[in-house]
């Protein structure tokens, strides 16, 4: 069983929901990323989404765009991201790491090379924002052969037939994008999310995570009630942006603990 599946199983036995923070690799500085990952786990993260910096993050709002720009200012790319995950694994063999990014950096090194390096550095799952399932059958197959989960996004506009198609390709969990918009927008409609999640649930046994509009502990709490996992991205990145190198770790740990308490 994959680390992701194990994590969901263990949480379910304890009747708990998964909490998944997102940070961009290399933001604010590549030397800090690994210790930030450990700090997030210590403060209650069940898995971590690690963003691959990209020059043209089309699906991201200003907060995560700036995170990418800060990382790119230090020339952080996939080769660094793999090294960071490997370094993280030296002390943590349990917490799933999910890479999230765009197709072009993957295609630049080639799908085969990407998957091989992801396996070598013990990555657990991959979300590629601009790879709809129809366009990445080969990539999904390569990931599957190496037991890495392919996590796909579902959106409020995804029609039922497509939900089924996506479920066939997906593993690990399904990621429901809670709003029409880019990351960090703040207009999540809990009732709407609830009804869509329950429709999806009838079609699959895969856990369902919800993200894109979770701005605070109160929203996280509401989302946790209707899903299996809560993803907190822009809010976490905002905390990073507002910190300096002396209080960074304590600030993100504190936010993580608040979210953990709200979700439990």
């Amino acid at each position: 069983m994959s680390r992701i599946a194990n994590t969901f199983k263990a949480l379910k036995e304890k009747n708990k929901k998964a909490l998944i923070p997102y940070i961009t690799a290399g933001d604010p500085h590549p030397d800090l990323t690994v210790s930030m990952l450990h700090a997030l786990v210590d403060a209650g993260a069940d898995m971590i989404e690690l963003g691959i910096p990209f020059s043209d993050p089309m699906a991201d709002g200003p907060t995560i765009q700036r995170a990418s720009e800060r990382a790119l200012a230090h020339h952080v790319g996939l080769s660094h991201v793999f090294k960071m995950v490997k370094a993280f694994r030296e002390k943590d063999d349990k917490t799933p790491i999910i890479l999230m990014g765009y197709a072009n950096p993957i295609e630049a090194i080639g799908a085969e090379t990407f998957v091989e390096r992801a396996k070598n550095s013990d990555v657990d799952g991959v979300i590629t924002v601009d790879y709809p399932p129809e366009e990445c059958m080969h990539f999904t197959k390569l990931l599957k052969e190496k037991n890495i989960d392919s996590i796909f996004l579902l959106s409020p506009t995804t029609e039922l037939d497509r939900v089924k198609l996506i479920i066939e390709q997906a593993s690990g969990f399904l990621y429901y994008v809670s709003l029409k918009g880019v990351t960090g927008a703040a207009n999540i409609d809990i009732e709407q999310v609830k009804s869509k999640v329950s429709i999806i649930r009838e079609l699959t046994k895969l856990p369902i995570g919800v993200g894109f509009g979770v701005r605070d502990a109160a929203t996280a709490k509401e989302v946790a009630k209707i899903s299996d996992a809560v993803v907190v991205g822009s809010r976490m990145v905002q905390e990073i942006e507002n910190s300096n190198k002396d209080n960074l770790i304590s600030n993100i740990s504190k936010l993580m603990q608040e979210l953990r308490e709200a979700v439990n």
Partner: protein, 400 residues
Amino acid sequence: MQPYDMPDEKGHFGQFGGVFVAETLIEALDELRVMYEKYRHDPDFLAELHYDLKHFVGRPSPIYHAKRWSDRVGGAQIYLKREDLNHTGAHKVNNTVGQALLAKRMGKPRIIAETGAGQHGVATATISARLGLECVVYMGAEDVKRQAPNVYRMKLLGATVVPVESGSKTLKDALNEAMRDWVTNISTTFYIIGTVAGPHPYPMMVRDFNSVVGVECKTQMNEMLGRQPNAVVACVGGGSNAMGIFYPYIDLREVRLIGVEAAGHGIETGKHAAPLTANSPIGVLHGNRTYLMQNEEGQIIETHSISAGLDYPGVGPEHAWLKDIKRAEYVAVTDTEALDAFHSLCLTEGIIPALETSHALAYAEKLAKTMKPDQVILVNLSGRGDKDINTVAKISNINL
């Protein structure tokens, strides 16, 4: 030989093209594909489109024999397809009229667009004003500075111009921002993409709307000369004016099709916007797979061109395909060569061409010299240069 029939139904031109977008946009693209399929052959829709192209845009645009210029260059005869004479001054309006009429049929009250040189933005603002649609144009902050007259033009036409401060602050970033707007306002908004890029069906649809240019050329060349040109030359940013004139000629194998990219300071300097000529790697950006200027880590790199409209790191997927199957050839000319051609056309023919177009003109000069006087080159004169006079004056150290 099989007639040319691209793309396939998923929008692929061989390995290029496709639909590489976040899930939220899929449904909107499906809707657009279905509606475009419904209307592209619909007699009422086509009648409305042709009425506007004739009475609002001023089509057909003439073909002009640039005789004095041809004589001065020496070699082949150069003919110019005068898209600069269209309302708003460029080929871009052919596409915006088509897409805006589609938006109206689809009941979308709000139009968004990206723009580089501002020509597509102006064309979109124009048709939005004419149809009473709200219009928001995204433009890189750098380009807002470079193309100030067009920014004001858009405002006069009632559009909101949003300067984009992210990334390199040019055309590609304007496209990113327009996509972000679209994903947020998907139910009310129609995104009019200005070139043959973006996810399917855009490359096909923008080509189709611009192909009125090539269709007219075939008839007009026949009327004027009783024959078709030996070569058709057009500049390539994203590639819409080039696809518009190439497309009807693809099955006429004896006609050479030549796309001219921006070599900026020179291909060898790396400061250019010529992914095809420079053999850039294949990648994914703005919804399609194509040749793309990028570094080893897959980050899109900054481009350089004197002309904002060619300052784009990718190229429409159909051009990538036509290059691979060797049906079209792609070359590049530098900023300096384009400027020389700009002045040359002004002085010999009394036509001020756009700086984008001047790239095609510069290559036509080179090519003409290698050809005989009874041979013919047809250049797509994609736009007029009024918008560029500040840029050109500045280079000549003249303060307007």
